[in-house]
Amino acid sequence: MTILSIAFIVAGLFFLVVAAIGVIRLPDVFCRSHAVSLTDSLGAFLMLLGIAFYEGLDKNTLKILVVLSLLYILNPVIAHATIRAALRSGLKPWRKETP
């Protein structure tokens, strides 16, 4: 069980690190928000799943799942609000220079 949870946590950490690299590397808000959503959806899911495995089945695990579902419901709302505000305030999405 411990091995399984460590494996899950490491996989989640991998996605978190990739997302952080993306936040640094990508060129504009719209692309960066993709990286953040990568973190939110898969990285957090794998981390919390690993922790839940480690905890075993009791009420704390249930609460972890509640936090997880909250993340899943709320984070798309935030990302959508940010992108909509960016779009409405007249920000143009970055495009690759086409010759």
Binding site: F30, S33, S41, L42, R95
Partner: protein, 153 residues
């Protein structure tokens, strides 16, 4: 009712005075907010949404791997674009679920919703194609969930 379940999950104590307090609180909140919610969830709908979630998760894993490959690629081969997706969903909750699924899937983000036309920002051509072609699949599934709810859009 759902609020009461939420209360029990959060407090995780089963003494009856706490349960009664939670029941009273959730009824008050539900009473204050009644009439604002656009739809009343039905149990069969909830079951279908639960059945939809594993498929969504499969899509999330697939596109996450694709996106991390894009980010870690040294040349950063991205081609972000805005695209308009017109869905044939005719229910508020269905459109909300559709937009939420699009945003939750890495690589695509809903930027603007107007009735049932969504403006979506996609990370590269393939993910965009996925939205135009493959996510018809997503739309079909959501339409299937809401098949016996009368349209209100």
């Amino acid at each position: 009712m759902a609020l009461f379940v939420f209360w029990v999950l959060l407090s995780a104590s089963f003494e009856w005075i706490h349960l009664c307090l939670g029941l009273v609180c959730s009824f008050i909140v539900a009473w204050i907010n009644s009439g604002h919610s656009p739809f009343v969830p039905k149990s069969r709908l909830a079951v279908r949404v639960l059945l939809y979630l594993p498929w969504l998760f499969y899509k999330i894993v697939q596109s996450s791997l694709h996106l991390s490959k894009l980010i870690l690629h040294p040349a950063l081969p991205i081609a972000p674009q805005l695209m308009t997706v017109e869905s044939r969903l005719n229910h508020h909750a269905a459109v909300v679920l559709f937009g939420n699924s699009i945003t939750l899937t890495p690589g695509t983000i809903t930027a603007e919703v107007d009735r049932n036309t969504l403006i979506v920002h996609a990370m590269d051509q393939e993910l965009g194609e996925d939205l135009a072609g493959g996510k018809k699949e997503m739309e079909t599934k959501i339409a299937d969930i809401f098949r016996d709810v009368e349209p209100d859009l």
